[in-house]
């Protein structure tokens, strides 16, 4: 599960673990966890008001903060 933590664009503040997702075009969403707190984020919404969810698929989940991309490898259910 260590691979579920954001890896691209090293940013120490982005330490979220992917624990659930619903992939499906513009109606996708994810549930991520940081410490003991869980967050539900849909496509286009911002995680903690900062990281915008822009892509959800069976391989990875991508957040964006300005020009920076944060990818989480999707290992849920695998």
């Amino acid at each position: 599960m260590a691979n579920n933590v954001a890896s691209t664009q090293s940013n120490i503040s982005f330490q979220y673990k992917l624990i659930g997702y619903r992939s499906g075009g513009s109606d996708a969403s994810v549930i991520v966890k940081k410490s003991n707190k869980e967050f539900v984020v849909s496509i286009g919404q911002k995680l903690e008001g900062v990281f915008e969810l822009i892509e959800v698929n069976q391989n990875e989940v991508i957040f964006k903060d300005g020009n920076k991309l944060y990818k989480i490898e999707n290992l849920v259910g695998k």
Partner: protein, 306 residues
């Protein structure tokens, strides 16, 4: 040129419609996620208002690689809640999630889907509620409520819709009129005394298909009086019909049942006088001597009288 524009237009429509179609399939995977967060996600997705009971707690795990449409996503969510011991109650456009054991006590439960709890009163006609109750109890749901209402001889069941239907069908079967009825079966060839003797032997074997009956021979009309339920009466009649037909299956052989004399003795007497038999016009053989001291089968009596 016009043709090219049309082709492009058709292609655009096709691509956009296939894109729309693609958007309508989803893949769900949740691993040990708080039930509240999953509910939040599904409520947002399904545009439904979901009210969680404060006692609804725990983690949910859903693994799926299948592409689901919107309805299937909703159904997967509902089934997952059920598996985790919660009930879903549709209530004036809202959806309430409550612990399953509370659902059986909720008076505002609608009866729309097979997964919802239903309250059902089943009146009984032929059996008592207390007799039926222990038979039905094992197939009711884990959180079902089952009790009898002796004053109206009915059973009260609160269970999931699908199970209520199942239990209702079973109760209808169990409540069928199974009381003993009197019927008279007339025999053509078989002696009623012999018929009852055979039936009593079958009954002694405790065969459930022929048991719990009373059979009485009635010689004046060569009939058997039967007291049994419909099922057993039908089986007895089939058996008697078969035996009755067997007696005359071959015209050259007849079975004569003896009431008092021993068959071995009679056989010896008949053998000794067989030389005095004479054939009738049809080729049948008849004894000349009078054997009227022993009872004959009705068919033979009739033949002899003729």
């Amino acid at each position: 040129m016009n043709l090219n524009l049309k082709q492009i237009l058709i292609l655009c429509i096709f691509v956009s419609s296939s894109q729309l179609f693609a958007d309508d399939s989803f893949i769900l995977n949740y691993e040990d996620v708080d039930i509240k967060k999953v509910t939040q996600d599904i409520a947002q997705f399904s545009k439904k208002t979901i009210i969680l009971d404060p006692r609804v707690k725990g983690k949910i795990t859903i693994y799926s690689n299948a592409e689901l449409d919107r309805d299937q996503v909703w159904n997967v969510y509902l089934r997952t809640l059920q598996v985790n011991g919660f009930s879903i109650i549709s209530d004036n456009g809202f959806v309430r999630i409550i612990p399953e054991n509370e659902a059986t006590r909720d008076l505002s439960i609608p009866t729309k889907t097979s997964g919802d709890f239903e309250t059902f009163v089943m009146p009984l006609i032929n059996r008592s509620a207390d007799e039926i109750l222990p038979m039905v109890k094992p197939i009711t749901g884990r959180q079902a409520h089952l009790s009898s209402i002796p004053s109206i001889n009915s059973i009260l069941l609160v269970d999931r819709g699908s199970n209520v239907e199942r239990v209702n069908r079973l109760i209808l079967d169990l409540d069928k009129n199974n009381t003993a009825k009197i019927s008279i079966t007339k025999l053509e060839n078989l002696s009623p005394i012999e018929a009852v003797r055979i039936l009593d032997k079958l009954k002694a074997q405790n065969n459930p298909t022929i048991s719990k009956f009373i059979a009485i021979p009635f010689s004046p009309t060569n009939s058997v009086i039967i007291s049994a339920n419909d099922f057993v009466t039908n089986n007895i009649n089939l058996t008697l019909q078969s035996l009755d037909a067997d007696v005359t299956s071959d015209d050259s052989v007849d079975v004569i049942y003896l009431k008092y004399a021993k068959a071995a003795d009679i056989s010896a007497i008949l053998s000794s006088i067989s030389s005095s038999f004479i054939a009738d016009a049809d080729g049948n053989r008849w004894a000349v001597m009078n054997v009227g001291f022993m009872p004959l089968a009705p068919s033979l009596q009739q033949k002899e009288m003729a």
